[in-house]
Amino acid sequence: MELAQIIKLLDCQVVAGAEHLDLNFDEVFAADLMSDVLAFTTPGSLLLTGLTNVQSVITAHVAEAKAIVYVRGKRPDADAVRLADQKGLPLLASPLSMYTACGRLFASGLKSHGDREGL
């Protein structure tokens, strides 16, 4: 699914990386614990999180998640936005809860790698 469609689906505002909205996603990983993101994310995934500090962007960069949606109406802090601009990583802010955001993405056919491992 194109990032532009995900933005509509989750009522997102674009906080950084507006030039990369043509990115495509097949998989999603959702967590507030960055170690779980590092352990379980598939490269190329969309990351949903409520953690808004710079570690969320570093974690996405290291784990090769290609965009971040911040849920629960949270917005990334200034350091996070600065680093995302440097790395060309789109940051989106959604007013939806984690549960609802995940539900909408799942209903649209996006899956999580962990499901295939029976997690």
């Binding site: 614990l33 960055m34 590092l38 570690q55």
Partner: protein, 143 residues
């Protein structure tokens, strides 16, 4: 392929410096990309070094990080001065943690660090002395 070192560089990580946490690992990732290693190898090295860097920031006073890249292996050594690890077997268990609330606010400190490092390393060596420090040597084979 040879084990002759192509690239060696040292970095420093300061304990408690949460604002810079992750900067060494992102540099290591860039260097490995420039050298031209395969993306899955780079990703494993970056994840292992990021968790190790967070451990230094959270628990140690400071550390020297030594990156050595050879055609057949990448070695990343975190040599820290700090409190050390009392029980390495315990620290290797998922979920075991001595983190503070501030560390948890950063999205870390849930007892996943060393298990994640082990998962992404081909060889993981850890030696620690209480009150002195910890040395973590991550080896990743490139083929």
């Amino acid at each position: 392929m040879s084990d002759e070192v192509l690239f060696h560089r040292e970095f420093r990580v300061m304990g408690g410096d949460f604002s810079a946490a992750g900067s060494v690992s992102t540099q290591i990732k860039s260097i490995l990309q420039e050298i031209g290693f395969e993306p899955p190898i780079i990703r494993r090295a970056a994840i292992a070094s990021y968790e190790a860097e967070m451990n230094v920031v959270m628990y140690a006073d400071q550390a020297v990080v030594r990156l050595s890249a050879a055609p057949n292996s990448i070695k990343i050594e975190f040599d820290d001065q700090g409190r050390g690890i009392a029980d390495i077997d315990m620290a290797m268990q998922e979920g075991y943690s001595t983190a503070t609330p501030q560390m948890r606010e950063m999205g870390f400190g849930a007892g996943m660090g060393l298990p994640n490092i082990r998962k992404n390393s081909d060889v993981l060596e850890i030696a620690s002395e209480l009150g002195k420090g910890t040395r973590v040597l991550i080896t990743i084979f490139t083929e």
